[in-house]
């Protein structure tokens, strides 16, 4: 299992658990992510989901080289990409509960999916954001598209075109409204739990309705 799942009261935790690989998504995590979101979505005791990473990095995107060694996973990944039908994030997997991303370190490339698709984003002072796609000949699309719709567009265009050359800091991301809170590294998980509990006080069906309506607004051209 490449994902650690945990429950603390009404808060479910989905934790990337490939710390030695910067939590990059390999073939196994590719499969595990969909199952993990489904499990927390189906669990009636869970009202809010916190998403974070073990180790120093938050998420560093698809481990393309590892993925290429697994023809099945590569094929599935290619098909999902082509059809804009990825199954990586809560949004992709149709999760109806509020999702808090707690960014504990570097968030690179495909890792930005989990920031783009969360409802609430907080970060530790160690967090930084970088999108190296164009530096290695790749197109950046889905994750930057969602971020573009949720944040000042210029900052996301800059992130996309600068590639590896520059990192966005947690403080600047907070200023731009990409995230709402920056805390000391040791405070990140307690703070995410606290936020989760505060939100979990409300009836789940209200939270679901609210989430559905607000994300529907992003569907307007």
């Amino acid at each position: 299992m490449t994902i650690e799942l945990r429950r603390d009261g009404k808060v479910g935790w989905l934790i990337f658990d490939r710390p030695d690989a910067g939590n990059a998504i390999d073939a196994q995590m590719f499969i595990d992510l969909e199952a993990a979101w489904a499990e927390l979505e189906a669990d009636d005791t869970v009202s809010v989901i916190v998403n974070t990473g073990n180790g120093r990095a938050f998420q560093s995107g698809l481990d393309v080289i590892q993925l290429a060694r697994n023809p099945e996973a590569l094929k599935a990944s290619s098909r999902q990409t082509k059809n804009a039908a990825l199954r990586l994030t809560g949004w992709h997997c149709g999760v109806t509960k509020p999702v808090i991303a707690a960014v504990n370190g570097v968030c690179a490339g495909g890792g930005l999916h989990f920031v783009a698709d969360a409802d609430i984003v907080i970060a530790s002072t160690d967090a930084s954001f970088v999108d190296p796609h164009v530096s290695v000949g790749q197109v950046t699309a889905f994750e930057t598209i969602a971020m573009l719709k949720k944040s000042p567009a210029e900052s996301i265009l800059r992130l996309a075109f600068v590639g590896r050359g520059e990192r966005l800091t947690a403080d600047r991301a907070r200023q731009l409204g990409i995230l709402s809170e920056v805390v000391e590294p040791g405070e990140l998980r307690p703070r995410a739990q606290e936020l989760g509990e505060a939100i979990a006080q409300y009836p789940l069906h209200h939270l679901r309705q609210l989430k559905r309506q607000l994300w529907a607004a992003l569907e307007v051209a």
Binding site: V64, I65, T81, K82, N83, A84, H133, V134, S135, V136, G137, Q138, V139, T140, A141, F142, T144, I145, A146, L148, K149, S151, P152, A153, E154, S155, I156, L157, R158, A160, F161, V162, G163, R164, G165, E166, Q175, L176, G177, W215, L218, E219, V220, A221
Partner: protein, 267 residues
């Protein structure tokens, strides 16, 4: 270097193409001739494979102050042409109008007002000198602001755009506030370092795959016109368009070998 333009300067510095507004005596206001030159200059830089990134700035104290109202008022034919092109939205003076798929950096020096916002709204990246000032005097002279403000509203907090639209010439926004709002991503201080910094930023971006950046630009600008799910489907087409491109193997190979990649030129 080319001297084909009377009201613009077009230069190349390494991989960075420069388009410089050059009517400093009238704060780089755009007359009819300049408008036609913009169309030609964007196309020239867009078609030059040696140019990978374009920087747009202003000669003299100011970046740009919109349409040259003085000329328009005294030139009946020009006024009619301008009115007609706006009615038909058949305009060709920004990189977005001209479908330039290379990254465009607008470097704002001094005043950017009124129609000058077209090049803020339509650029990918915007940086400004610390003494830059932004305002929109349209309503103060009985004019409606539309296209450039609409472009900006899609890219930044709407309240700030509405405030500029209604305050007209009676209030100016400084570079610091524009940075806070995410209208621009960098304030260059001292102001005279603006061009140097824009060149540096351009060179950093020029290290990335031209083909991947072009497809990314199509995906991201397409997203501004679409709802989220549609935008992702549309973006997927541009993403997939790069599959099989030599840059997709060159990029990881160069990374693994710790060398600079050799990208295919844009065709």
């Amino acid at each position: 270097m080319t001297d084909a333009y009377d009201h613009l300067i077009v230069e190349r510095h390494g991989p960075v193409g420069w388009l410089i507004n050059n009517r400093p005596d009238v704060r780089n206001a755009m007359n009819n001739a300049m408008r036609d030159e913009f169309a030609a200059a964007w196309t020239e830089l867009n078609q030059d494979p040696a140019v990978r990134v374009i920087v747009h700035t202003g000669e003299g104290r100011d970046f740009q102050t919109g349409v040259d109202v003085g000329e328009l008022a005294t030139d009946g034919v020009g006024m009619e042409r301008y009115r007609q092109s706006m009615e038909d939205f058949d305009v060709h003076f920004t990189s977005w109008h001209q479908e330039v798929w290379k990254p465009v950096i607008t470097a704002v020096n001094g005043i950017c007002c009124g129609g000058g916002f077209h090049w803020v709204a339509d650029a990918d990246i915007v940086i400004a000198a610390s003494d830059a000032q932004f305002f929109d005097p349209h309503v103060s002279v009985g004019q409606v602001v539309a296209i450039e403000a609409i472009g900006l509203m899609k890219k930044m907090p709407v309240e700030a755009v509405m405030r500029m639209a209604f305050m007209g010439k009676h209030e100016r926004m400084g570079a610091d506030r524009a940075y806070e709002l995410g209208m621009i991503s960098e304030v260059v201080d001292p102001p005279e370092h603006l061009r140097e910094r824009a060149q540096e930023l351009g060179e950093a971006i020029a290290k990335n795959s031209p083909a991947a950046m072009a497809a990314t630009k199509k995906a991201l600008w397409g997203a501004l016109d679409r709802g989220l799910t549609d935008a992702c489907r549309h973006g997927a087409q541009h993403l997939v368009s790069m599959w099989g491109h030599p840059d997709q193997t060159e990029g990881p190979a160069a990374f693994a070998e710790r060398r600079d990649p050799e990208w295919e030129p844009l065709t």
